[in-house]
Amino acid sequence: MTPIQIGRLLRSTITNCVMGCRVTEMDAPAFGGMVRIPQAGGLQIYGLIYDMTIEDDGLVRQLVTAENISDDVILDNRINRNVPVEISVLFIGYAQGGEVYHLLPPRPPLTLDTIYPCTPEEICRFTAAGRFGYFRHLLRAADLPLGELLAAHLQQTAPLHTAAGNPAWLSAATQELITLLRDDYPRLMEALATLGELKFLI
């Protein structure tokens, strides 16, 4: 099956990137979702969506003052006008030669590279490799809504592992987070409080 692209890269560094996507493509990406950016030579860069921004402009600011905005105008603005949704992605590792590495990619992806959502198989393969080394990238990044991002990631990933016959993955991931944050009590409490919102953890 042909993978569905969700956007193209606008700018990147070695740790993260921002991609643009049309509003009509907004169904695919979700906060905490895992994405893949294919590179030359079989390199696949993996990342987690940690922010989404929808920019306005002068016309949109004026249109919101209208009493009733017609569907035609809404469709025009979402389909035709050049106001992309910006999605920020934190790099959490890469795969090359059949091996998964929870390390930063060798080089950042380039402008207009295509970005795809990860399949359940790709997510399970990446997150089950090693011992949750990719958590380091989340814990190191400043200004992230860490608890919310971890909760979203676990909420989306745990059911995939359970369906794949690995129900212990969630418990192991939580234990690993507690270990990594054991010396940072405020962040640990914040993370655990947010994880407590997940129905299947209660």
Binding site: Q62, L63, T65, A66, I69, S70, D72, N80
Partner: protein, 391 residues
């Protein structure tokens, strides 16, 4: 040198001091004109006869002529037609300049296509045309801004015609500005050729039953006021002074009608008395009405120009009126046709885009081993970094 604000401050102060007296004088003239409008609103045959007599005395007379509706008529809008196709066009151009390294021009036309309430997303169409150095130079020198502007107006109409033919009626084509063109110099052969083609396209739109309309904001037109001036002069036995003596000078039609037309309403449709040798005659003779697009009690009037064959059809005037009002309602606080704004967004050529095109042309010419001149020193100096450019 910066502006001498001290000198300007004194002049602004003086202007402010004179303003109340001028305003009072103006209000007096406006009241007189308004009273005359009330008196004569239904005397359409007499007014038509009056215009005929005045035109015989002053061949270049230009004023409103009564059509079928009382002059003080106001009419509410209908909801937009559920089967309507609306096409709005706008254009922009790069005028050739002898100061550039390669003299070239570009005409860029954007058309916004909309089918209100029919569930399909609007479409945008763009057509860009390069005016090569061979086209830019004529026997009389470089193409002037007026000719390029007319070429742009013509391309807008051609694009509208091409797209309009793809849809069943009712179709409305909308452009920004008047239908009637005033560009100078009208004695230029190239200009006359383009203008002739322009009216031919309008004829083809008419033949296809496609409504053509020009939307004019902040109109300073005073044709209705000039008609009332004829009546005033006639009463004073001075009709021979028609067009020369202006009893209601500086009063505009919008000022006269502003308090009469309610939110969403339109005025009467009026014709225009103009010189017989004009290009816009017969079924293309320009007519117009005013529409109050303001959603609030504070009126905001725009002028809408239409050809005679549309003006003579009440259903088509109602169709256009409803569509325009609906368009303006989409824009919120600054009511103006949404489709025209979008066409402008699509068409506009920015200064940096002009530079990109010039770079593309010089690169191509150099690839072909053709010598390229440099920009004028004056232009190069204007583009020095740090200099703020006018938009």
């Amino acid at each position: 040198m910066p502006v001498n604000f001290q000198q300007l401050r004194e002049q602004i102060h003086e202007m402010g001091q004179n303003a109340p007296a001028l305003q009072a004088e103006r209000q007096d003239r406006l009241d007189q004109a308004s009273r005359l409008l009330n008196e004569l609103a239904n005397d359409l045959p007499a007014l038509t006869e009056l215009v005929g007599r005045a035109a015989a005395l002053a061949p270049h007379l230009r004023c409103a002529t009564p059509a079928a509706e009382p002059l003080d008529l106001t009419a509410p809008a209908r909801p937009p037609d559920p089967h309507l196709t609306l096409l709005a066009a706008d254009g922009s151009q790069i005028n050739p300049s002898a100061h550039d390294s390669v003299p070239f021009g570009v005409i860029n036309v954007g058309v916004f296509e909309m089918h209100p309430g029919q569930g399909s997303p609007p479409l945008v169409h763009t057509r860009s045309r390069l005016l090569t150095p061979e086209e830019v130079f004529t026997d009389h020198g470089m193409l002037g801004e007026e000719v390029v502007a007319l070429m742009r107006d013509l391309r807008e109409r051609e694009e509208l015609l091409e797209l309009a033919r793809q849809h069943p009626v009712p179709v409305i084509t909308l452009t920004d500005g008047p239908l009637e063109l005033y560009h100078e110099p009208q004695d230029n052969a190239r200009f006359r050729r383009e203008l002739q083609h322009y009216t031919e396209v309008l004829e083809e739109l008419a033949a296809a039953g496609v409504v053509a309309a020009g939307y004019v904001e902040k109109s300073r037109s005073d044709l209705l006021v000039r008609l009332l001036e004829l009546a005033q002069l006639d009463r004073e036995g001075r009709l021979a002074q028609a067009g020369k003596d202006r009893p209601f000078k500086f009063i505009t039609d919008i000022e006269l009608l502003r308090s009469r037309i309610g939110p969403g309403e339109r005025s009467a449709v009026l014709g225009i008395q103009t010189a017989a040798e004009g290009h816009f005659t017969g079924r293309l003779a320009v007519h117009y009405f005013y529409i109050n697009v303001s959603p609030t009690a504070k009126p905001y009037l725009a002028r809408v120009e239409i050809p005679a064959w549309v003006a003579q059809s009440q259903p088509l005037v109602a169709l256009l009126h409803g569509a325009l009002l609906w368009q303006c309602q989409q824009m919120g606080a600054h009511a103006s046709p949404y489709a025209l704004h979008r066409a402008h967004e699509v068409a506009v050529v920015r200064l940096d885009e002009k530079q990109q095109i010039e770079d593309m042309i010089t690169a191509e010419l150099r690839r072909q081993k053709v010598a390229v001149e440099q920009k004028s020193h004056k232009q190069a100096n204007k583009e020095l970094p740090g200099k703020r450019r006018r938009p």
